[in-house]
Symmetry: D3
Subunit: 135 residues, 6 copies
């Protein structure tokens, strides 16, 4: 049970319905998932979040499947079930195979492990890794 | 200052030096970074960690640059500076542009944001996202 | 199913029951929620945790509704469902509107996002932000 | 040292400079902190992030000081030094006293503690905390 | 419902079944829990993960019950329900009493609390805590 | 530089000095580390935090060295440098060897890794792990 209602198209106001329509058009589907339907309780937050996500997840210098895999990596690290399931489904819809999923999770697991070995030992930065930026 | 010493080739024992040599051969460089030199205080842990990471990060059904980007995504989410800097450097060495880095970080930021919107609203799972597995 | 039993008033010992009574008196309700009933398996831990929380959450230089909102912000960041639901309910009981909840979550989402942009870019501290304290 | 350069007004392009100008106007100060100057390496990300944060942090049904305190609570939970220092400074500029800071941190600490007691005991949800939403 | 199938002995291939057999032999039980049965979708990842965990969790200079308690501490901090329940069960099977569980959780709670007090105040390192390592 | 001043014995008020004295007596040393000296800016928070930690970390059904190792495990998972360094030092003072430290970190690393494999695959709970508690 969500904390605020999951709004149907009828329950959502005009501003939220316009976002639902853009979601449908952008994704070429009739399906609007619960995340957006709960966010619709605050139409301005819904519109801003959808607009931001649409831009961030669009293919750019990183393709759209890789972006979904990065999204899954973050969600797995944070332990957000809804996010893991919805973006794993999205990655599969964009072509991720079961084997790619397993390789993705292996990297996520290894990074979470070695992050802690580094923390626990307080490994000092190699000068070679300092670079580009300033100051 | 690290919690255990950063071991030079001379200070490391034979088992650790053999791992250093495999790192050099695998990466085609003379450089062995501090992470491995601190892990060398426990040669068995060093060998196991290196062997695991070598397999996980090798190109497979996901290419090696994408794996580095996934690694960075996890490290950024966890806030591990050494890991962020070393794997951002590795991703750049494999061809990641500044613009790709920014797109990667934008996805990581958006995922961390929407993970919390989902948590805070306790969005219920859409049936469409349940699938493959059993039971 | 909890890992240790949820103790009724009858099952709890005298020390735990005294804490339950103080919870009822402090909150002006008959209801003692499961968190305290599971903690009651270790009456000393129950007493210490309740005493600490009672002091921390009492109105002081920050009012009690704002404290509940801060509590929700942490729980959302950590993804603790029980904590999110119980403290969202508490905040509502103290007057938080649905719109305030959405604004709260928007801030929590944005902070989680920008925290990672800062991590990923390793933004150097501005001198203006160093101040008050002294090592 | 940041991973991408901290851009001065001269180094930033016209699109980024326009954002810097809006930051100055909105905050009524000449100071543009490093976070924005590093984000300026991707002017579109800079503009989107600033626009979002400006809306989220503006006074609404939650006042602007409370929003800063919520931001600090998240950043402290995540351990982001830059974010902690910059938003603690912002909260102070808006009137947060040292005592309020300590009360804020006490709530953040207690929430992080009790979140883990709940996790470790797998406390079952009280029906009283299920409510509003649907389904 | 898991994201990939939970494989029975019959559904698992020969390589995965060999790992199941080693799990049974090592643990002296017929029971192979779901974690391994889902990992079996990638036999190489299954084998590597089991081999690593077998070595890490074996009694060494830290005994095997303490290792389970450390594992629980991490899982509680991360909020991973499956991990909390399975390793709490494992620790109990190795002799952890209910009172030890409560003491363990009290330490985990206090560490999560004081970690945030330290973050929020940006407490400077005492020289006394710098030591052993180099450079 | 800390966010609030590190108070010397002279700068601290009588209530805080009494806590410092109890720290010295309990630990049998003249040394009071910076964490307590910064907390001293809020004597009530200082007293409550010290009192709680003294009880939690005292030898009970879990010995005091194991408690320090659990504390380190949490701090490493959270990435709190001050906490890692101070409690690693404390564990060493209580007898933790370098090899035990490495074994501890290996468990912490493995738990962080497998927590994410479990998250990413959404492994369903085995009935065998449900038990003790009620309902």
């Amino acid at each position: 049970m969500s904390i605020l209602p999951v709004l149907s198209d009828e329950e959502a106001g005009a501003e939220a319905r316009a976002v639902f329509d853009d979601i449908r058009a952008t994704r070429n589907t009739d399906f609007v998932n619960n995340f957006w339907r709960v966010l619709a309780n605050d139409p301005a937050l819904l519109a801003r979040t959808w607009q931001g996500l649409k831009e961030v997840m669009a293919p750019g210098s990183i393709d759209s499947l890789v972006k979904e895999m990065i999204y899954v990596a973050v969600s797995v690290t944070n332990g957000c079930e809804y996010c893991i399931r919805s973006h794993t489904a999205a990655a599969r819809a964009k072509g991720m195979s079961d084997h790619q999923l397993m390789e993705l999770l292996a990297v996520v697991g290894a990074a979470n492990e070695t992050n802690r070995l580094v923390n626990g030992l307080q490994v000092p930065l190699d000068e070679a890794f300092l670079g580009e930026g300033a100051p």
